[in-house]
Amino acid sequence: MGISRKDLKQVIVFQNATDDDLNQIIQNSITRSLEEGEFFFLQGDPANYLYVLVNGQVKLLQTNPSGQQVNLRTIYPRQMFGALGAVREQADYPASAQALENSSALAIKSAFLHEMMETRPYLSFDLMKLMTSYIQEMQSRYRELATERVEQRIARALLRLTVQSGQKVDEGIDLAFSRQDLAEMSGTTLYTVSRVLADWERQGLIRAGREQIHITNPHGVVRIAEGLEK
């Protein structure tokens, strides 16, 4: 499944692109379709392509030498990932990109986008917008890891996931994710996440399923995340 010019224009980095530029980008790219669990790229691979997710969901994860994984972020349709190679020559991917479900992405040659950026300032500015938003997010996560207790970190990770993929329903908010994702996003273990979620369920803040959660008391979760008094 390909991507239309209209869809591509919704990608933050391409929001100011002309139709001609969008056509060139499409012409210099290929569509890659992967099944759940397969990788678009692995940490350490040469960053020859950057990707725009067309459909599905992709997890960006980093692994340390002892094999421990950290989930950096989840990518949703029309979001860009793996763009390092377009900015820095001979770069390697700093993380792996794994399909969380059957997914398709537009793979654009990094060298081609780099070349376009030299004559189109809007591309550099829009890429900077994306990068600065990632830096801000990482700074917040670093602060959380350094200063906040685990329950607060899990609440914040849950709220970040809610902002990205939550669905408002009659009595609260629904969202789908795995406990492992939540553990990786909040820098803790699966065991701790399960213990905290069970505790929140007892308090009536959430109802937790296997790979989904229903937030029955959103304000209660905000209260924990922000350390507000009851």
Partner: protein, 80 residues
């Protein structure tokens, strides 16, 4: 010229986007809504229910802040 009307079904984010001065009312009611992750999810009705204050009073507070700001804005525009 009519003043924008705030509905109980507006989300916090929509309200603040439409009339950013209403942030004063959220703060005066001691809510944590300004800057909250869930501003796109919670409606004004949800806020009143969560914090336990009358929806009508809350809405009229927001409306009056929006109105004050709206007319001040119109006046400023005329002066310019």
């Amino acid at each position: 010229m009519s003043t924008p009307l705030l509905s109980p079904h507006f989300t916090v984010a929509e309200t603040l986007r439409q009339e950013k001065e209403t942030s004063r009312v959220f703060i005066a009611h001691k809510t944590a809504c300004v800057g909250c992750y869930l501003a796109h999810f919670c409606t004004l009705e949800d806020v009143a229910k969560t914090y336990g204050f009358p929806l009508e009073d809350f809405l009229s507070g927001l409306q009056s802040e929006a109105q004050t700001n709206y007319f001040t804005g119109v006046q400023n525009e005329k002066q310019v």
